[in-house]
């Protein structure tokens, strides 16, 4: 059974059609990227999948169950990391916060937080407050928070759009590394074609708004990926050219 199945999903804001008709499935352990032009309805699609926004049409199934409201084993990493962290809590407190309503013991919570902070390389910053961290570090905190929550499915909405190029490359590699260690299924939305090819097992290309899936491409790049060799490889260049052509169309 697919981890996530989206069938005929559509959303209309008042009279604005944002997502027209989107269907796809994500298998357990997969990392799927959704790439589409700016304003094509990517965030809307993700919010419908997360249960934050009731879809106007169509259905979302997680583990075969129809999603209505936010499912319990799903986490979202938002683009605006600084606005999604609690400024009055430390890094540790932020990562631990969502675990408090999950019936875990203090010891269990602590070990999960420490594990997640180690994954993202922030063990040393546990006692700091968000405002003491760089943008990239803040986004790592919000990734750690999602990881500690141990969701079956992690949704990411342009998670690296607001950081500089070097930090962005580091965070991409971090996601690739951590999703293997944590054995997580990831659905990541981006408008960056190169990023989608570099990260994904599969890329879904969206049309301009109202969104539909134009094409699904399997990414057959060797693992582990490397910022320099992977991006320079022939298949990488071929894929990104193909996606660019699809989006331009």
């Amino acid at each position: 059974m697919s981890m996530l199945e989206v069938t005929g999903l559509g959303h209309t804001y008042g009279s604005v059609d944002a997502v027209s008709d989107v269907s796809f499935a994500v298998e357990p352990g997969e990392l799927v990227c959704i790439v589409g032009p700016s304003g094509s309805g990517k965030s809307t699609l993700l919010r419908c999948i997360a249960g934050l926004l009731p879809a106007s049409r169509g259905d979302v199934f997680l583990h075969g169950d129809r999603v209505s409201g936010v499912p319990s084993d799903l986490a979202v990493v938002f683009q605006d990391y600084s606005r999604s962290l609690l400024p009055w809590r430390t890094v540790f407190g932020n990562v631990e916060f969502p675990l408090r309503d999950r019936g875990l013991s203090t010891v269990e919570r602590r070990s999960r937080v420490e594990e997640a902070l180690a994954w993202v390389g922030l063990s040393g910053a546990a006692g700091k407050h968000p405002h003491e961290l760089s943008g990239g570090m803040q986004q790592r905190v919000s990734i750690a928070r999602a990881l500690a929550y141990r969701p079956a499915l992690m949704l990411m909405d342009e998670p690296f759009a607001s950081v500089d190029a070097q930090t962005r490359a580091d965070l991409e590699d971090l996601v690739l590394k951590v999703r293997l260690e944590a054995g997580m299924t990831v659905l990541l939305v981006t408008h960056d074609i190169d990023e989608s090819v570099y990260l994904a097992d599969r890329v879904l290309v969206l049309s301009p708004s109202p969104a539909t899936v134009v094409e699904t491409l399997k990414v057959d790049l060797a693992s582990p990926r490397d910022q320099i060799t992977t991006r320079g490889s022939e298949s990488f260049v071929r894929l990104r050219t193909e996606i660019a052509r699809l989006i331009r169309r």
Partner: protein, 245 residues
């Protein structure tokens, strides 16, 4: 260093005040030394237990009740569209009433009593903290609200762990305004309708044309206001460390 300069400025001001009032010799404006004499005579005697303490308890009690009411109602209105739609206009109307107007009303209802005074203080000082709580609760970032929903925070954790801290700076600003209003209303209510308290003693001194005594009570009220505000600022400073990067 700054503290020394401030103390120096205060001392000079008192000196000038002393000199001017002695020179002018107007009986309505006694020199500070005579006010101090009256303070030494009046404050520490039986008045402390009979007047100062009760006034302090009433103002703090009324203000505390107003704060709890204001924060609870304000956060509710701020986070619930329906509640705001139905009730916000009522509060917008009520807060335009000048609070001292309520003294005669509450005097009719409660008579000359502590209840009258506390009711006046509560009703008059609830507005700043209530309206600021509404504002503060509304200011929770939508991304934060989405995050809370994604992680399926319980209602209590959402309210106490996210909304209240996020509204904290606004709420404290409201608390400070409310506190100064509470103090003003305490004095007004006691001058007009009480049988004890700082305001009552102020009225009594006035009736007896004891001008230095009157000024000593006025000085005590401003001293209390200053100390209460300093105390609240200290609490605020500790509670909101995070908001000052």
């Amino acid at each position: 260093m700054n503290a020394w300069i401030r103390a120096g400025v205060l001392f000079c001001a008192l000196l000038v005040w002393q000199w001017v009032t002695v020179e002018v010799g107007n009986p309505y404006f006694p020199p500070p030394l005579r006010v101090a004499e009256a303070a030494v005579r009046l404050w520490p005697s039986h008045h402390f237990a009979a007047d100062v303490l009760p006034s302090l308890l009433r103002v703090l009690g009324g203000w505390a009740a107003a704060s709890v009411l204001g924060i609870v109602i304000g956060v509710l209105l701020g986070r619930s569209r329906a509640a705001a739609d139905y009730f916000e206009f009522v509060f917008t109307f009520l807060r335009t009433l000048p609070p001292p107007l309520l003294v005669p009303v509450f005097m009719l209802i409660f008579g000359i009593s502590t209840e009258m005074e506390v009711a006046t203080i509560v009703f008059g000082s609830v507005w700043p903290v209530l309206l600021n709580s509404v504002d503060g609760a509304r200011s929770v970032d939508p991304v934060m609200a989405d995050t809370a929903r994604v992680f399926r925070l319980s209602r209590a954790r959402w309210l106490f762990g996210v909304v209240l801290p996020a509204a904290g700076p606004k709420i404290f600003a409201g608390l400070r305004v409310s506190l100064s209003i509470a103090l003003i209303l305490m004095v007004i209510a006691e001058v007009v309708g009480a049988t004890s308290g700082i305001g009552y003693q102020l009225g009594t001194a006035q009736g007896a044309s004891d001008l230095p005594g009157m000024w000593s009570w006025i000085a005590l009220i401003s001293l209390l206001g200053y100390l209460l505000n300093r105390g609240l600022l200290a609490v605020e400073h500790r509670a909101l460390v995070w908001s000052r990067p």
